[in-house]
């Protein structure tokens, strides 16, 4: 059953590509549209609308539409048709779903997603079919590293960035011995490696890496080991339910008073109500905080609250900036998505004031941004200071950034 669907969609992709190739060869594709009646721009939103990450997907979707709505609801003068597809945060279905957007729905842009595994599937399809892709969250390094491409953009972060920033903060604070802990999977390794890279550069040493299978949450033996090693700092990469459980267990094991626990912002973002007392005072690094002083942030948070009734968070900001990036890129080419080189060039050079601060992209199409040190107070991640200014991902293996 699955097999036949997969075959069918692959055939459709091939047919689509053949048709596109034939059209391009005959040279009848208009490269510039006249103003007037014209086809709508098709935006394919492939996001988690159900499951663990549903709230994140919803915020990205709502904020993206808000950004475009604020600018008149059009992109480069053309009306928009939204195509939404639930990716279920299931990497196994990633290729099929992305291919559906490209071949069946003929979208001009793919936008997605949260889960890094699904992002990898979308990156592959975007490269195979040369479809524009904007990633509003998933931080997997390869998307703007070894697999970077002119048609692939990211408006969020790479796993390397917040981890590197925290490594620097920990080393600057004079801490010498660290233990890193995470799930035994790609994002966990990318994050803990980046922490160790910066921490070592600052004169510290990671004494032990503790890993448990994803998404296991039996932390007890590992917490005992941390107590035995007594490092100066513990760096933890967990998100969602795992982050809630780890922070609470860390406090219940009595470690919080003795050894500072730090991590990337995901450790305490969207989880603070559940973590309660156990999270108070924790320091994390991220490209956003709940009380930034930018005027843009204030207006955005108010607008988002008014439009949705919910408080904005980092995911909403990333969705909003995805919208702004599209407005800017398509504005420059007056909505002509076929003028690919000009479009990519305009998006690449886009600079604007994001709720998170100044937004610019690296040559590998990943944001170059300030990372903030934040501290948990009540149910907010409060801004402390800038941890690293204008931090760019090393984009290891990306030919565009050479």
């Amino acid at each position: 059953m699955t097999q036949s669907i997969r075959k069918a969609s692959r055939r459709r992709v091939l047919a689509g590509m053949a048709a596109a190739g034939a059209a391009a060869a005959t040279g009848f594709v208009p490269t510039r549209f006249a103003i007037g009646q014209q086809a709508k721009i098709r935006l394919g939103l492939m996001l988690p609308y159900t499951g663990t990450y549903a709230a994140l997907g919803k915020n990205i979707d709502d904020a993206l539409r808000l950004a475009i709505h604020e600018k008149g609801g059009t992109l480069g003068g053309r009306d928009i048709e939204y195509v939404t597809l639930d990716d279920e945060s299931d990497p196994a279905k990633g290729s099929d779903n992305a291919n559906k957007l490209v071949a069946r729905d003929k979208v001009d842009f793919m936008i997605g997603t949260v889960h890094s595994g699904v992002v990898m599937a979308m990156v592959k399809v975007a490269r195979d079919t040369n479809t524009m892709l904007v990633i509003p969250n998933g931080g997997v390094g390869a998307a703007t590293g070894a697999l970077c491409a002119p048609n692939i953009f990211r408006t969020s972060f790479s796993n390397w960035q917040p981890a590197y920033a925290m490594g620097k903060v920990a080393a600057d604070a004079g801490r010498k011995r660290a233990v890193v802990i995470s799930w035994d999977y790609a994002a966990g390794k990318e994050s803990t490696d980046a922490f160790t890279e910066a921490f070592t550069k600052g004169g510290g040493k990671t004494e032990k890496g503790l890993f448990l299978p994803f998404p296991g949450v039996e932390f007890q033996p590992l917490l005992t080991e941390i107590a035995a090693l007594k490092p100066d700092v513990v760096y933890a990469f967990f998100a969602g339910g795992g982050a809630v459980k780890f922070v609470k267990d860390y406090a219940a094991a009595g470690l919080k008073k003795a050894i500072p626990l730090v991590g990337p912002g995901f450790l305490t973002d969207g989880t603070l109500e559940a973590q309660g007392e156990a999270a108070q005072g924790l320091e994390t690094t991220l490209h956003y905080a709940d009380d930034l002083k930018f005027a843009k942030d204030k207006t955005f948070r108010a607008a988002f609250k008014q439009a949705t009734g919910r408080d904005a968070d980092v995911y909403a900001v990333q969705g909003y900036d995805t919208g702004t990036l599209l407005i800017s890129g398509l504005g420059a080419v007056k909505g002509d998505v076929k003028a690919r080189d000009a479009l990519v060039d305009a998006m690449e050079k886009t600079v604007f004031d994001s709720p998170r601060g100044r937004f610019t992209l690296s040559k590998a199409h990943n944001p170059v941004q300030d990372f903030y040190l934040r501290k948990v107070q009540g149910t907010e991640n409060r801004y402390v200071r800038v941890a690293v200014k204008a931090l760019a991902d090393p984009a290891t293996g990306c030919k565009m950034s050479a």
Binding site: T50, V217, E218, P221, T224, E225, A228, G241, A253, L255
Partner: protein, 293 residues
């Protein structure tokens, strides 16, 4: 006491505690496997079911104990119903039929779980009177619920041992595992004994899921990991032996705990290495009957 010795003992405590919980799941599996001759792949799903029932009723009533009181009878009823409808036609058949059917039960239960509860990770709150920690070292305290958990597991292990060793039902179970026909001709309703064993097994797995819910969280697929480890416990202990399951559960718990600490790169493998070593030494497991089946 030196520091390193103290931490070693705390890790032993962690291992024993993991082992005791494993025993609760594996005891039902070894009974169903050893006495009824049924390979029950759905055993992990009953563990998951227990955890989700505990989550649902604890959220509803606000109390884990009330939730367990409601959920255990439900698990027993489910066990009885499954035995009558699905398992009974498979007695004496090839193991392949049992594997296929119980695998189907996994898929059905997993889908029902997804429909009813979604795919989110959920937490169950520790009951208020156990929500404190016991100080062990200057930097380490031990959550009281975990100690309580071990005490419950020990009590249940004792109860199972007493049931098998000293009651009429236990006698019938032991006799039935050796010679089904003979027991039947002595006037004991063996079909009823089997039904009781299956329901008991389901209830034990579900109960393990319920009391583990506050420390393990509640999430999709949680039963699958437990199932595999439980089979390892059953095989090491000797199929059908409660005593063997108890000892081997403790061994597996300790091996897993110390594997995570001393061999983090190979931590996923330690229990399988242990199993291979035991089987080389005693091919029928620690308390299995070689040759007798």
């Amino acid at each position: 006491m030196s520091d390193s010795l103290a931490f070693f003992l705390i890790q032993v405590l962690n291992g024993v505690q993991e082992g005791l919980l494993l025993f609760l799941v594996a005891s039902g599996l070894t009974l169903i496997f050893g006495i009824m001759g049924v390979i029950n792949l759905a055993h992990g799903s009953f563990y998951m079911l227990g955890a989700y029932l505990a989550y649902a009723f604890a959220t509803l009533t606000g109390d884990l104990w009330t939730a367990i009181l409601i959920a255990v009878p439900l698990a027993i009823i489910l066990g009885l119903a499954l035995e009558v409808v699905l398992i009974r036609p498979l007695y004496g058949r090839d193991h392949l039929y049992q594997v296929l059917l119980t695998y189907g039960v996994i898929l059905v239960l997993e889908e029902i779980r997804s429909l009813l509860f979604g795919d989110d990770v959920h937490g169950v709150t520790v009951p208020a009177f156990l929500d404190f920690s016991v100080p062990l070292k200057d930097a380490l305290t031990y959550p009281a619920y975990r100690l309580f958990l071990s005490a419950i597991c020990l009590a249940i292990a004792g109860a199972i041992w007493w049931l098998i060793r000293y009651t009429r039902l236990g006698m019938a179970i032991r006799a039935g595992s050796t010679n089904r026909e003979m027991v039947q001709s002595l006037g004991i309703d063996i079909a009823w004994v089997y039904r009781a064993v299956f329901a008991l097994g389901v209830a034990l797995a579900a109960l393990a899921g319920m009391i583990a819910a506050p420390v393990a969280s509640v999430f999709p697929g949680m039963g699958n990991d437990v199932l595999i480890v439980s089979f390892v416990v059953v095989v090491i202990g000797g199929i059908g032996s409660i005593k063997g399951a108890f000892l081997s559960a403790l061994l597996v718990g300790l091996a897993d705990t110390f594997g995570q600490i001393y061999l983090p790169q190979l931590s996923g493998m330690t229990i399988y290495v242990l199993m291979a070593a035991v089987l080389l030494w005693r091919p029928a497991g620690l308390f299995g009957h070689a040759g007798a089946g």
